[in-house]
Symmetry: C2
């Protein structure tokens, strides 16, 4: 892969310059045979906004949108580029394109000369300012991609995970008219699981489920996006959904209402998964008896470094694991997919909801998240 390609280039140059290699090294500045040691080099971060066009108008409890802007990041070291992405969905409170760009301008990676030392580099990035989880994830993903390329291995392998254990992903159906929901459910036929956004009112929620069920009996997962305000109503809905082959309920109630949520989880016949209630690692311990599991998203938790820590924390607390995404390119989705082998559930369809993806990476094959063997996050720029 990468190293093999580079070995080829190196060998080519070694051959080309023949016996004069020692003297020629300095002249051939772009070819460095000590690449893998990584000393006396600098890391360089660049970034630019990229406007995603949505395939459908996307509605969830509270708002809808047809376009969204992400920031694409690149970290370059010794001629190798790691790719990253910072999506900025409207529900990430206090974060916008402006705040994210302002944060990224403060990130000075040129002070680091060893790109393998990602733990300390990402501790530095996290410490620059509070909040800013989206641009922090943009830096984290690009750095991990670079790191994987330098080591010449996909990240899932560097972490010791089993490639074949990735779950099926859900395909998300937003809140829409009966006709559009039916259409989208039919479009979702390549997927083995459907995710339905609920949380409007009882009539709409039940219409959405009944419409999906009029097309298919494949398993459904629910994301209520904090839409249910009353614990008795929430529990009643969960029982109603349980009868309709639903697998789990994501964030049924408002994120800070943990007492009622614990009551619901204790009585729920289906697992409950924290999304808005679980942003970062420090949130996890308090959710132990409140939800059955957590939904990890890179833009919430600042990236892959912290995501892996949330995985081990949740595992040690006996909680289920889900990986999610937002509307973003195959870059960020493929990064998240590296964690998929550790997940009970996955909702990695964000790249499929946009019309102008500029990366190719992980694929959904027969409904299942399918990782490739390329180094880093496993993407190529289109």
């Amino acid at each position: 892969m990468k190293i093999q390609r580079r070995d080829f280039i190196r060998n080519f140059f070694l051959t080309a310059v023949g016996g004069t290699i020692a003297g020629s090294q300095m002249a051939c500045g772009h070819v460095n045979i000590n690449t893998r040691t990584g000393y006396n080099k600098q890391l360089m971060l660049t970034f630019h906004p990229y406007e995603l066009e949505m395939v459908h108008t996307f509605t969830i409890s509270g708002y809808s949108r047809t376009k969204t802007t992400v920031i694409l990041t690149e970290i370059t070291y010794d001629g190798i580029t790691g790719y990253g992405e910072a999506a900025l969905p409207p529900y990430m409170e206090g974060q916008s394109l402006d705040t994210a760009l302002a944060f990224l301008k403060k990130v000075d990676l040129t002070q680091f000369n060893n790109p393998y030392e990602i733990d300390d580099i990402l501790i530095y990035v996290d410490g620059i300012d509070s909040g800013n989880s989206c641009p922090k994830a943009g830096v984290d993903i690009a750095l991990h991609d670079l790191f994987g390329k330098l080591i010449d291995q996909p990240l899932y392998r560097i972490w010791g995970y089993t490639k074949s254990k990735t779950p099926d992903t859900t395909f998300t159906i937003g809140i829409d008219t009966e006709e559009v929901v039916r259409e989208k459910t039919e479009e979702a036929s390549p997927f083995k699981r459907i995710k339905v956004k609920l949380g409007v009112d009882e009539a709409t929620d039940k219409m959405l489920i009944n419409t999906v069920r009029s097309v298919t009996d494949k398993p459904i997962t629910i994301d209520a996006n904090q839409g249910w305000r009353d614990k008795y109503y929430a529990l009643e809905m969960i029982h109603w959904l349980k009868e309709r082959n639903v697998l789990f309920i994501e964030q049924p109630m408002p994120k800070h209402n943990l007492d009622d949520m614990a009551w619901v989880t204790a009585k729920s016949p289906l697992p409950t998964i924290a999304d808005e209630s679980c942003q970062r690692l420090s949130d996890v311990p308090a959710l132990r008896d409140v939800f059955s599991g957590i939904n990890i998203k890179l833009i919430k938790c600042t990236g892959l470094r912290e995501a892996n820590r949330m995985i081990s924390m949740a595992e040690s607390l006996g909680m289920k694991l889900m990986i999610g995404c937002t509307s973003e390119t195959s870059c960020a989705v493929s990064a998240a997919a590296q964690l998929a082998p550790k997940m009970n559930y996955a909702d990695l369809d964000g790249n499929l909801l946009i019309a102008n993806d500029c990366f190719t990476g992980m694929k959904i094959i027969d409904g299942k998240i399918t990782l490739n063997d390329e180094a880093g996050i496993g993407v190529r720029k289109l």
Copy 2:
């Protein structure tokens, strides 16, 4: 390193067999050009006891010894061998040479054909039986060493840690006569920190400290090995020690007495570190307000996989980190040293206390734990 050597061999064979390579592959069974994919191979675990001879008779609160038996482990895959070790100190309750050998006989790694999938392999090993942390660590270390060799990187780099951030190690002085303690303190002159075992009685404990202080004023760390039974006495001793340039106190009180320990930690002018009270990851959350930090030892926590999880858990709880060892060869000590960049304190002198080390690996240079750049745990068999 490894891969380069193997690439050389591969190229040599490719050259040697020339145009008939396709037909020759099967015949050259020991050379496989698809080594890095790891398919259709088997992992093989072997192990044998090895008796360590101690340089000094070693006394801590409760017992003393001159010899101890460890189990050396090896996991082989495709001609590459990972080395591991299971030490069995008497304080690991319920574990002995016999129980460890019996456990290792149950480990069937031949069911795995991908040595990169260490997460699932080690989940399997941990699930074979409860307890048995020492032989589990023996398997974990050998598998991580193999994994690092296959990826051709030292483990600290695979984990993204900063090699230069390793702390100084302490050199341990056991409970002994004034004369021997003075002698050992003089021997310890290459070290920048001295660890003193206390927990006998007030007169002996103070004699030990006063004797060390008659030789040197370098920082001391204390391991009381649960020896102090009364919280008021413990706090008084800690104040007395604070006046004598002591850095922290390890396990002052009995391991299950967490209420009194929390009282001591809240009032202590020095950090307190859990050793016997902290065996595995699941112990850590409850120790948050009981100790200032935890001492991670591979034989307690089943190895490097869980040790890294304890590191991230303790970091997220704001607890200090220490890495410890027991009397063992440079194999297990070098494995533990891979975690040293994340540690506030280290006590990795176990290999220096034995006369017949059969590995060479990490070095103590000018008192500091010094990692090499070799793949895996960075050891060579002597």
